[in-house]
Amino acid sequence: MNVLEIKGLTKKFGDFIAVDQLSLNIREGEIFGFLGANGAGKSTTINIISSLMPMTKGEVHVLGKNLTKFRKFAKQQIGMVPQEVAIYEDLTAYENVHFFAGLYGLRGSELRSRTEEALTFVGLSDKHKMYPKSFSGGMKRRLNIACAIAHRPKLIIMDEPTVGIDPQSRNYILNSVRKLNEMGSTILYTSHYMEEVEELCTRIAIIDHGKIIAEGTKAQLKAIITDQKDIGIEVQTAAHLEANKLREVAGVKSVEVKENIVHISSDAGVNNLNKIIQQFMAQGIEIRSVQASEPNLETVFLTLTGRSLRD
């Protein structure tokens, strides 16, 4: 069953088209990744699904019911983890979760137990009487999640939940996402961090300029560029590297330098590793290591859009 169906979704702000005829389906039990650079239209799409803004055109169905006609029903099924932390500093952690869960119709002992359950899930049960102003950024993000899951929504929308937090909290959140999915929630996860999406998501849509430019499993997306191989060459220093000469080597499609690692995308069918290494030697650049890797989503994105995810 499709938890979410979007058909021809369009959103315009004046003449600017933020979301352009976007269509996708999310099946029950999936962790669906929404990958795109900043300004691609991810948050706008999320806001429309969450009823935070109206659509210009199109249809959205949540659990088979039209979002516009059955808005209250749709809202009941969705748990929203917004990009910015959305909690009340003058309420304790417990009171925050209790308040928001109560808005979804939970009452009495059920409300209390779900509140405690949510706080335990995010690892804040021992801090339930504390105020968020004393929390770290990571703890606030975890409370942010707790406020969204207490009412056990069918669809959890997580809009860039790991932005600006420490690695430990980030790992905690990623593990929490997996656990939520194991417990039966369908998750729509947006991010511009390719590694997270690759690690977590069962199916991924890549969005650019308000359109979905590719959709499928990781394997399906990478298959778009199966005719490509990625070579990573670590050098002593890339300061004097003449990348254009590398591009002249037969089969080489793109050269990108990040610190002292030169990433080369090349035709998979062309055996050009020797010539590439020779080019480095001719330029007097010392090679430390060579690694051939599978194409990743970053590469897919770069191939499809001509830009990297973090541009």
């Binding site: 809202k75 929203m80 917004p82 959305a86 003058d90 009171e95 928001f100 808005l103």
Partner: protein, 372 residues
């Protein structure tokens, strides 16, 4: 139920120390400071200056002349007034206008004419009153003389009597300085809550909680109603506490009709909240706060927040009629000190009427916006 939930959440703002200072400590201190520092303006008594009356009697009416002489003697004895006959070449009216005399009396065959000095209203009023009493008695004796000529020259004042009848009455209670400023500061602080009301919805946007609220199955109207209800309730609690503190700690007099007093105050709270919300939806950002502050300051200045309106004149008096603070203060003063409820009803109707208008503006603006 969601409205109540949101309202209860809103009331937890009392945990903020700044709120407690603003809503409790500030008004209590202001009442104490203004009430003690400005107590001289409310001592309830006034000083009467010397009363000097200039007169001219052409003697055309001998009976009147005789009565007049008796009147002057009696008035000088009982009231300390001084009567002086006009001298040759003096212009009585000019003397009065030059503030040399309280009034000028001219007695001739036509009767008695009086010109008073309007600058000394208290003294002038006393002379007028006494002359009116004299004129009434002279007319009475004239009528009596038609029946018995003996009465023509009688002053109709028995021995030991006086033209001034002193009677002791229980005068209307007047507010002292603490009484006045308990009312004025309470109503002024209520009006200041328009500033916090202006930030009621904006605070949700700044905290990003507006998104979470709107993503939940709660309508905009419920959010709006919940926040207003909660803020109204907490402000009402603070006002009750301030009134009780002023009553029991400062012995301020709040009258014998506390229900009506609190009704006036509560409708003013509703007005203040509506003012803040209405303006914050019409004007965005910091402009709303600035405009609200200007309105509050003007309303407080002209409306009796710092000095009683009764002691003002001219344009100040005129401007007071447009101040929401004035109509609430006036309503409370009349309710408490005159027992009159008509001004209170008037004030409540104005507060509720403007609240409905401003809330309608806010709700219409909110419905048109994406988000809160």
């Amino acid at each position: 139920m969601n409205v109540l939930r949101i309202a209860l959440k809103e009331m937890k703002i009392v945990r903020e120390p700044r709120m407690l200072v603003f809503m409790l400590a500030t008004p209590v201190l202001l009442i104490l400071i203004l009430g003690t520092a400005l107590s001289n303006a409310f001592n309830g008594s006034t000083t009467i200056g010397d009363i000097r009356v200039l007169y001219h009697n052409n003697g055309a009416e001998p009976a009147l002349t005789e009565q007049w002489q008796a009147f002057m003697q009696e008035a000088e004895r009982s009231s300390g007034m001084a009567f002086e006959q006009i001298e040759e070449g003096m212009d009585g009216g000019r003397e009065v206008r030059n503030n040399q005399y309280t009034g000028y009396v001219e007695i001739d065959g036509q009767g008695i004419r009086y010109e008073g000095n309007s600058r000394n209203s208290m003294e002038n009023g006393i002379v007028q009153g006494m002359l009116s009493a004299f004129a009434d008695r002279y007319r009475l004796s004239a009528e009596a003389a038609k029946i018995d000529p003996e009465y023509e020259s009688k002053p109709l004042v028995h021995d030991g009597g006086s033209y001034v009848l002193e009677s002791s009455i229980q005068g209307a209670r007047q507010p002292g300085s603490l009484d006045y400023f308990s009312i004025a500061v309470t109503t002024m602080i209520i009006l200041y809550s328009a500033l916090t009301a202006g930030g009621l919805i904006d605070s949700e946007r700044k905290r990003n909680t507006a998104q979470r609220l709107l993503a939940s199955p709660v309508t905009k109207a419920e959010i709006f109603a919940g926040k207003i209800t909660g803020t109204l309730a907490i402000n009402a609690v603070f006002v009750i506490i301030v009134v009780l503190i002023s009553k029991y700690m400062f012995n301020a007099y709040w009258g014998e009709n506390p229900i009506m007093v609190f009704l006036v105050l509560f409708t003013e709270i509703l007005f203040a909240l509506s003012l803040g919300l209405g303006i914050s939806y019409v004007l965005k950002g910091n402009a709303a706060g600035a405009v609200i502050m200007v309105i509050i300051q003007l309303a407080a200045f002209f409306g009796g927040g710092y000095t009683p309106v009764a002691s003002t004149t001219g344009i100040m008096r005129e401007a007071a009629t447009y101040s929401p603070l004035h109509w609430s203060n006036e309503a409370l003063l009349q309710l408490i000190y005159s027992g009159s409820g008509s001004a209170a009803m008037h004030a409540m109707m104005l507060n509720i009427g403007f609240s409905i208008l401003l809330l309608a503006v806010a709700m219409i603006s909110m419905r048109r916006r994406e988000g809160l």
